[in-house]
């Protein structure tokens, strides 16, 4: 790994300086380094350290940094989670890789609510495929996929549970094997998934992480990596960034560059821009949140928990349709996590399963990132908007029909929780420079040599896990800037 100290950072500057090492940054960098106009010298600045897979398993956590200490949550209902360390969110994610539904990109046009993205599903399709290939995603065949696909997944799907098979038999167009960046077959030294239900700390390293899949970037002699580098701000002169200022080893440092790629996360990235003196009204605005309705389904005679991963399937029964004029997108996920889903009744332990309905909510501009007096990001977020309650109730009313193909004894409503692990919005992309932070190529409207990557640019959340879409957007943005593959 080409880790260098802050003192040995090249004084002559870099072609590209990358801030952060999560999905957004690394997929962008991967494509840039394999492009026709490959940058010659790259600096990568990571606030955290390198915590190996073995370290994470031994210590039962993904990072040695308390991320909550790096931002002020006193005015935020959600207690946002992230990982500060080499690889960022690729360490702690659960490896679930659904694509955004096609209609989510055009919510406003189709349903009169939500936001239209400046890019569409068809613009992203090949980048979705590329990102899935890099992550070795296991998923259903082209004909059995809920999304139009131009290429098959690189790995066959994980095994469905008996419950999933019953649901799929009854409605094959609504129930699907969940695509996951978790190996369904051994690959190199990495074994296939063991069905542990501990995906945030995958015990076998079957889950894609930067540490197990981007060695070529970390060992590239043209990329200098500085760990423990807290980026404070950019120097911006005449509408262009000239330097990045950061603190490492207790001292201030700086590095010059031609292009800067900002992929800290949806809390820290806008804070860096605000500390740089940028005051575009869209910077930091509109932090998004999804909610999840949790339910337990009790069955009579049909057994569960024999699926292949923690989340063997997804159901799209509530994803699209006329209800979208009143509600956000929704995805039902079936859980295979047996310690949390088994029932206590004697010898009927497996006759139950947990399901969650993930619900997109409206984005409110008052949910935002500002700067506290100490310069730390201050998250102001009221939690789920009031309109979310009606969507939750509608989803709850639909569950008996969704599971009607099963021998359901009863469905118990458990809880409604906030998705605190998906940091999205705050630097949203759009075609209108007055209302968006970045343009459709993810270039900051205010400063044309700063590209923003990661889930912070997403105009809306959809109802699925965002990491794959963040990765696909990064591949596309790198292509737009570096001219495509070499």
């Amino acid at each position: 790994m080409t880790i260098v100290s802050a003192d040995s950072v090249a004084s002559g500057g870099y072609d590209m300086v990358v801030v952060g090492t999560g999905f957004g940054s690394l997929f962008f960098l991967h494509r840039a380094m394999n492009s026709r106009r490959r940058p010659k010298r790259v600096l990568m600045l990571e606030r955290g350290r390198q915590n190996s897979h073995a370290w994470q398993i031994e210590n039962g956590r993904n990072s040695d940094i308390d991320h909550w200490s790096t931002y002020d949550l006193s005015e935020s209902v959600p207690k946002w989670n992230c990982t500060l360390g080499l690889g960022g969110g690729t360490n702690c994610w659960e490896g679930i890789t659904p694509r955004m539904y096609r209609d989510v990109f055009r919510s406003r046009s189709l349903y009169g609510r939500g936001i239209d993205w400046p890019v569409g599903y068809d613009d992203l399709e090949r980048y979705y495929c590329d990102a899935e290939d890099i992550m070795l995603v296991a998923g259903p065949g082209v004909e059995e996929s809920p999304w139009p696909r131009s290429r098959p997944y690189p790995m066959p799907p994980h095994r469905l549970s008996s419950v999933d098979e019953a649901l799929r038999r009854a409605r094959p167009n609504e129930h699907f094997a969940m695509p996951t960046a978790i190996l369904s077959q051994p690959h190199g030294a990495r074994p296939s998934c063991c069905g542990s239900s501990y995906c945030t700390l995958c015990p076998t390293d079957a889950k894609f992480t930067a540490l197990n899949s981007f060695e070529t970037l970390f060992n590239d002699p043209d990329i200098d990596i500085v760990l423990g580098a807290e980026v404070r701000a950019f120097d911006i002169v005449g509408g262009a960034a000239t330097r990045v200022r950061y603190v490492a080893d207790g001292r201030e440092h700086e590095a010059a560059g031609d292009l800067f790629v900002l992929g800290a996360n949806a809390i820290h990235s806008p804070a860096i821009l605000l500390r740089s003196g940028l005051d575009h009204p869209a910077i930091g605005r509109g932090m998004e949140i999804k909610v999840s309705l949790l339910a337990q389904v009790f069955l009579d005679g049909l057994e569960h928990f024999d699926g292949g991963t923690m989340h063997p399937s997804m159901n799209t029964a509530l994803a699209s349709g006329p209800q979208r004029r009143e509600h956000g997108a929704m995805t039902i996920i079936v859980s295979n996590a047996w310690p949390h889903g088994a029932r206590a009744d004697f010898r009927r332990w497996r006759e139950a399963f947990n399901a969650s309905v993930t619900i997109e909510t409206e984005t409110l501009p008052e949910n935002r990132i500002t700067l506290g007096r100490d310069g730390r990001p201050r998250v102001i977020h009221r939690g789920a908007p009031p309109s979310a309650q009606a969507s939750v109730e509608w989803a709850w009313s639909r569950l008996p029909e969704v599971f009607s193909a099963l021998p359901v004894e009863r469905i118990e409503r458990q809880d409604v929780v906030l998705y605190e692990n998906h940091l999205q919005g705050t630097l949203r992309m759009g075609a209108d420079a007055a209302t968006s932070a970045v343009d459709p190529d993810q270039i900051l409207y205010d400063t044309r040599n700063i590209a923003v990557v990661g889930t912070s640019v997403m105009p809306s959340t959809g109802s699925v896990n965002p990491s794959l879409t963040g990765a696909a957007l990064s591949l596309r943005a790198a292509d737009r800037i570096f001219g495509g593959a070499s």
Partner: protein, 143 residues
């Protein structure tokens, strides 16, 4: 000057709050929860025996998996009994979760999940499984 009068209602509320306060303080102790486990086993697993030598390890593991609302509910159950403690939805949910923890601790830490007859001989608790053990997962070779 007349001393302020305390109404019967206020007195009752204060007493209840006091009892609750003591309860919350005591519930960090494990005896109520351990008692709940012992009393619940015949109901949850009728006819199933647990090897007495490994029972303490099973109990420790199950206790470690409980959390605040379960501890409160288990304490309430030790005072007023399970039917009353689960009269309110929150208490019911917490005790049902405790039941699930008891059962899944044995499903994960013994061969209970794969036994044809769970009552045939005592269960030997060998420890909560390493992360990779899903006792119900089918082999990739299985149809």
């Amino acid at each position: 000057m007349k001393a302020p009068q305390i109404s019967r209602r206020t007195l009752l509320l204060a007493s209840a709050a006091g009892v609750l306060g003591i309860g919350v303080g005591v519930l960090t102790g494990q005896s109520a929860r351990a008692e709940y486990i012992a009393e619940s086993l015949p109901r949850l697993l009728p006819g199933v025996q647990i090897d007495p030598e490994t029972y303490p390890a099973f109990e420790r593991e199950a206790l470690a998996r409980t959390y605040r609302s379960i501890r409160i509910a288990a304490f309430a159950s030790s005072i007023v009994g399970r039917p009353l403690a689960s009269a309110a939805p929150a208490g019911k949910a917490a005790l049902e979760e405790f039941d699930r923890i008891i059962v899944t601790t044995l499903l994960g830490g013994t061969d209970l999940a794969t036994r044809a007859d769970p009552t045939a001989g005592p269960l030997v608790f060998v420890g909560w499984p390493p992360a990779c053990a899903n006792p119900f997962q089918r082999s990739p070779l299985e149809a």
